[in-house]
Amino acid sequence: MSHEPILELTGVTAGYGPFRALFDVSLSVPEGGAVALLGANGAGKTTVARVASGLVKPLEGSVDIAGREVTGKPTYHFARSGIVHAPEGRSVFSTFTVEENLALPFGRTFSRKGVPAALERAYEIFPQLGNRRKQIAGTLSGGEQRMLCLARALVESPKLLIADELSLGLAPIIVDQVYDLLEKIREAGTAVLVVEQHVGHALDLCDHVILLTHGEISWEGPSDEARHVVASTIFGSPGTE
């Protein structure tokens, strides 16, 4: 791929309070590309995702979005630059209705006359959510909340979607559907950074794989070369779960 990187991390060291989770991590996601970030529990995958979306500020190194440095900028700046992060877990506004959750990113008058067309698009992709527009998000099932989280990321038509542990807690059939959806999103030109433990799906979707071990990049390369490395690193090396 010869495109400009939409996201570039250079020499990033980051952590939480006194704890360091990443050491000198450099990676880039090309425009329209798909990168899988794999690793065992505690390897630092989620922290990379958080640094990429501005939730965690790097202690060292820099973050660039489409060639512009954004290190240390507030999180909303990342979102407004087209980086959308679907965090792991049930990351929805649990006291909001489904529709309010989806409407929030638009930041414009939310009139009753007609919801924006993008919401309708989201309901087309996730018909279950369309049937539950007025339901309080906290009362949705775990899988539905993950869908809502993803739908909220997608209504904005992002340039880069960071999907953190999308398959976690979802039924296999739903996981298949979600990855079909990611494939479509990719084909439509959105770059994807997938953080996963569910290796198979991630390798099928992505063309580039980055392997994290103990906060450092231990391997990087095309996905077709990745399978045996991933298996030995994640499942074979001592000290991993």
């Binding site: 939480y16 309070g17 006194p18 704890f19 958080r50 979306s53 501005g54 939730l55 965690v56 507030p74 999180t75 909303y76 979102a79 407004r80 959308v84 992060h85 965090p87 877990g89 049930r90 990351s91 929805v92 506004f93 649990s94 006291t95 909001f96 309010e100 409407a103 929030l104 990113p105 638009f106 930041g107 414009r108 008058t109 939310f110 009139s111 009753r112 906290g138 909220r152 904005e156």
Partner: protein
Amino acid sequence: MLIAANVGEDVFRAVLQGTPPGAVFALIALGFVLTYKTSGVFNLAFGAQAYVSAAMYFKAKVEWEWPTFWAFFISVILLAPAIGLLLERIIFRHLRTAPAVAKLVVAIGLTVAIPALFELLAGFEAVAGQTPQGILPDGASVFYDPFGVYPWSRNELAQLLVAVTAMLLLGAMFRYSSIGLSMRAVVESPRLAELAGVNSNRVSSLAWGISSLFAGLSGVLIAPRFNTLAAPDFFNIMVVAIAAAAIGKLVSLPWAVVGGLGLGITISLFTTFLPRWSDDLSWLRPFQENLTPSLPFVVLFGIMVLWPGIRQSIDSTDPLSGVDPPPPGLASSARSKRLTNVTRVTAILIIGICAFWVFAKADVGWMFLVTQAVIMSTIFLSITVITGFAGQISLCQASFAAMGGFAVFQLADRWDIPVLLGALIGAAIAAAVGALLALPILRLGGVWFAIATLAFAFFFDSVMIKFSWVGGGDTSLLQGTRVDRPDMFGIDFNNDKSFLLLVIVVFIIASFLVVRVREGTVGRTLQALRGSEVAAESIGISPVRVRVTAFALSAAIAGLGGSLLTIQQENVNYAGNFAPFAGLFWTVLVVTLSARTVEGAVMAGVSFGLFERAVLRNVFQLSGKWRFVLFGLAASQYARHPEGILEYGKGRSFGRLDALLDRWDPRSSRSGDESSSESEEPTVDGDSAADVDGAKTGGTR
């Protein structure tokens, strides 16, 4: 006949009569709900903000003789939002993801600090008889309803009009605009909101600006209701308004208005009909006298205890809280044996010098203050138990202390029971009341526990002290009757030095008890519950018995301290010593310094008794009011240092001292000191480790 013939007209009159105070409750309740919805802060300081604008308006209008518009402009349009923006920028922006209880503690600190700071900076003094003016010309002129039954003043009409208009406007903002949605999003999870492109700092500033503007507007609107402008009155009315807001689960604007009006009208109906009915039914008489003033607090307490739904509406957890760095452990980490020896020797030296000075040199004034400091330290130990160990904020410790004081007084006055025996009985009464109170409220989480205890404090304040068998009612008990100090074992405790020795002995016994509790099963179990109630219960710990024990013990210590205070002052002096507003300052003081150690209680007692004269007056020649400002603002550190600034500072300085000692004597060992005395915290680092200990203890019981 029970019901009068013209009952219809009387009901109509009562409804009209109850609507204006109801509108005031509604106005404040709306503001409270607005702040809570837009900032997630249980803002007890809302009343203080309203007071500042009312006082500023009074200052500009009456003292500076400004025209109404400019007085309104400076107090409501400028000052009120400026205070809100400042609070947001300096304090609450950094607390967005802090637990609700931490925000509550900060708000309590501000409740104490803001009025005092304003009065000091603006030179404002509440002068009796200076009736505040409203913003409307001829605000007191009245209008009759179409039937000529009841007159409403212009001011009252304005309050009602503004309450209803504000409800509609704010409701529309939340319902139809994106800013309302963004505000709610930022309250629930600022980070998730930012991921959706919302600038949470700007939204939060706007929220504080609007809600503070509303606080200012409410303040100047309700000011004509009072004879004199005083911060505690605004606080009282706000607690009433919380009852109204609670009817709408703290989130519904229409229900806050309905709740406010409903409270006002119900009180008015009771005032109209209860006296009439109690002429025929004598058993109604006590209710007639007491139900009216206590109704809001009874309603508030009832909602807290009986309505499980309300408890769930707070403390929704941020799904992205994992981004926060882990909470800091207790500042007092393990320290070397050598350092322990050094600090012990230093402590003994300091205490020795102080004791020598007090007993040999101090005059009567200092003696009084030192004695008061020791007694307050004893009372503050009660906060150590309930807040430091059990992790709950109780705002009725002053009421328990008052029970001790009243008991001493009543027993001595009626049956000539010696005051020290009276003090013990007082402590027992407080413990019994504490245990009874704990039973319904112990299941309430953080903020609700605090509000339920606040409701109890106001119930005690508005009802109980009026009874002849509690606070003396109409007798002279509250008006200067003396209680003599004891004369025992041939020692006359009228001598100030003997009395000081007595209170020191009582304090040492109470401290010993508190340390024993902390290190025993109760203390460990409380720590486990504090860490995770669900986890603790899953390994078989029952929270009921241990929480009731802790609350009863805390009440007993407060009662004992309160009785000593009464014996020292030879009078109960309820309003000066034990009113709910005074109790807020106690909590602020202890929690800010350190709620987890006996040393914290001592420092809080010393600060309470001596800081004003020793530091503010003698060293800086400042008004004593600065202590409210300093400690109130220092409470904002609670979220960052829940262990207290004293503990935090101690931990840091111990680290440096140890390093210094190391340089001096590099050969010595640095093993931790196992036999730490009270002034040294246990060697476990942080809550989590302590919780594991506690859980183990509970599990093996």
